[in-house]
Amino acid sequence: MSTLEIKIEPVTRIEGHGKVRVLVSKNRVQDVQFNVIEAPRFFEKFMESKQAEEAPRISERICGVCPTAHHLASVKAVESAWGVEPPETAVKLRRLMHLGGIISSHILHVAFFTLPDLLDIPEKSLTGLYAQKPRLVEDAIRLRETGQNIVDTVGGRAIHPITAVPGGVTKLLTSDSRDKLLKQAERALTTSQNIAKLCFQLIQDNLEKVKAYPHFETLYMALTRDGFHEIYDGKVRVFDPTTNSRIDFQPNEYLDHILEKPIAHTYAKYPFIKGSKEEPCRVGPLARLNATDDFTTPLASEHLEAYRKIFGSPAHNVMGYNLARVIELVNAAELTNELLREEDLTTGKIRVKVVAKSGAGVGMVEAPRGTLIHHYETDQEGCLKRVNVIVPTNHNVPSLERAVFEMARQVIPQMEGIGRDRALWMLENVVRAYDPCLSCSVHMVELVEEESHGSQNSVREEKR
């Protein structure tokens, strides 16, 4: 029996290197594998023995598209391990840099990765998009620049920010900077509204095609604050649409609910929610809009209503990710405008005293692509003893594979009719909707915490 293997390599317009393999035999799609070929870099191993306060600057190098999320989850994990509460102004400044990161990451995806597909332009590249829609590209670039400027100003550097340290942040916003950013933020809100309008329009115009995309149910996970959409700090909620039940837990209880499994055909490990069956859980924009009740900002809340009319509540269709993402973009712009107006950003207290010690702690944030977990243990010098990072993309990969499988079942039999390239493009659309961050998904190494740990360590340590 011959098996035909259809390969998409590499999947383009995503972050990181991955390929899709569709195995067809007897004219039926038998299996789909999403191979993350991005190299594992063993962060969790080499971060051991490093001073824990350096973790925010080291672990953020897991990803250059969402470094701010790692930077913040990391500093929260260290503070949790050392029992440190940063002052309110510092938290606000961290939120602000987080918003900058979300704006820049989301518009990168919406404009540069997704819109070429939604618009269905002939050449689906940045050059092609610019040829068709120059104003749109210029606006998107400016919006992305605003996001990067926020991180640069508040975080110290646009890519791989530096100002979050255990105890707070290292600098205040100056009034001058605040005024500059506010001007940009106001413009950002207008642009994100325009782009939201465009995306809603494109989805509506192609509703039949959109509804044909995979729409199976899964669990959904997100941070939440009093039931609202929350990006920096809150409880973790897992929502089960089949039973309409919600479990809320604290970040430091995550091991009671989430376990990880290594898989033969990929360097990314698959997390599952513990339960009677090993259930995959989705995270990210689609999940956040399902697991939480509403946004705290008006325009995003309006869009949410319109979105629910299209995709239902809860929404399961993978293309919902794209629309959810643009609504979050509007929300981030609204929150940025609100936050920049707070008085104490330029004058408040931004650091508290910190003592390094042994401990264990968890830091969680909602990264652009979903719930991000950093979990550290430190020794009495305050050096890292054990590091565990679970990135959002890993949660999504099992359902991503299933979604591509279902889509392949639909389109591969029709390949002759619709054309090979077109069919494979539809499969890529499914992958792209998830906005996978493949560099994040292979940071990796899960560490053993056993007596045997010491003997396994092959670093030549100087004997004292």
Binding site: E9, A39, F42, C63, A264, V448, S458
Partner: protein, 290 residues
């Protein structure tokens, strides 16, 4: 029209740094054809007659090595973009450990994990050590930094396109730092979470600031944000080994503060971005060979 491609990936921060040219990318795309760039274009294969290939990331798997070699064959100029491509970068700290042991250890013995297997199907093999691109192919230009400065990227690519000879800045980070030196050695070591005095040199205050041994051109962003430099732009034009030069300098002015040198901890300080290409790692490699 000249043809430009970008390949490779590590954390994608270098690709993002190219996008951080913001509007400047538009005229660039008019001057050159972007023949292949997986992040913003759908072209799957790497075309053959390229003028410039920009490579991000170090060599961590056989796929990375194959990609670097393919890029070298197909392009006139190879640009190593970012500290990973130039020196191995931050992930080369994994070279302190044995890769096979790490893979075995990690994928087969984890608590809170159900039984799994070591990834091996349809994915490229991990190499023993992470190396810079130059370990594999000849590199024409290096643009260091983690992330590299968009200005440097524009400078180097612009230089190749116009045929002008361009050079990266030769100064160290200290030259761009606004803090003032009082010429007094540090009394004690301070860690990152301790709040520094405003406006005074961080090294003098006892932080392990890598400024003196690090290439400038970054506007000394970190010390100017009250955070010590961690050496992300690699060695300055005159440092023979960024980390050892710094360790040496520190031991001669404040030995008390470095006498507890520990490889596992202090590579994170002195060789954070350059471990793979450091003299120390080369010696370690030679010792391990026997």
């Amino acid at each position: 029209m000249k043809k430009l491609a970008t390949v490779g990936c590590c954390c994608a921060g270098c690709h993002v740094a190219i996008l951080d040219l913001h509007e400047r990318i538009l005229p660039l795309l008019k001057d050159v054809e972007l023949s292949h760039s997986y992040i913003i274009s759908d072209v799957k294969a790497i075309p053959s007659d390229l003028d410039i290939v920009v490579v991000e990331g170090g060599i961590r798997t056989e796929h990375d090595a194959a990609l670097a070699k393919e890029a070298r064959e197909k392009a006139k100029y190879v640009v190593a973009l970012g500290s990973c491509a130039c020196f191995g970068g931050l992930p080369s700290l994994a070279n302190l450990y044995d890769t096979k042991e790490m893979m075995n250890y990690v994928y087969t013995m984890t608590p809170g994990t159900s039984a799994g297997e070591i990834p091996h199907v349809e994915i490229p093999r991990v190499t023993q050590k992470l190396e810079p691109i130059s370990s594999c192919v000849k590199v024409d230009y290096e643009v260091p930094g983690c992330p590299p400065e968009p200005d440097d990227i524009a400078l180097i690519i612009g230089g190749i396109l116009s045929g002008e000879r361009v050079e990266l800045p030769k100064k160290s980070v200290c030259d761009e730092c606004e803090r003032k030196r009082l010429e007094k050695p540090p009394a004690k070591v301070r860690r990152l979470f301790e709040e520094p005095e405003d406006k005074r040199c961080l090294l003098e205050q006892g932080y392990f600031c890598m400024g003196p041994a690090t290439r400038g051109g970054c506007k000394a962003r970190c010390p100017n944000s009250a955070v010590p430099c961690d050496g992300c732009r690699g060695p300055s034009a005159v440092s023979w080994d960024q980390g050892l030069a710094m360790l040496d300098a520190l031991s001669t002015i404040t030995y008390e503060n470095v006498k507890d040198y520990s490889l596992a901890t202090h590579t994170g300080t002195f060789h954070r971005y350059t471990y793979a290409s450091s003299l120390l790692a080369k010696l370690q490699g030679l010792v391990e060979k026997r």
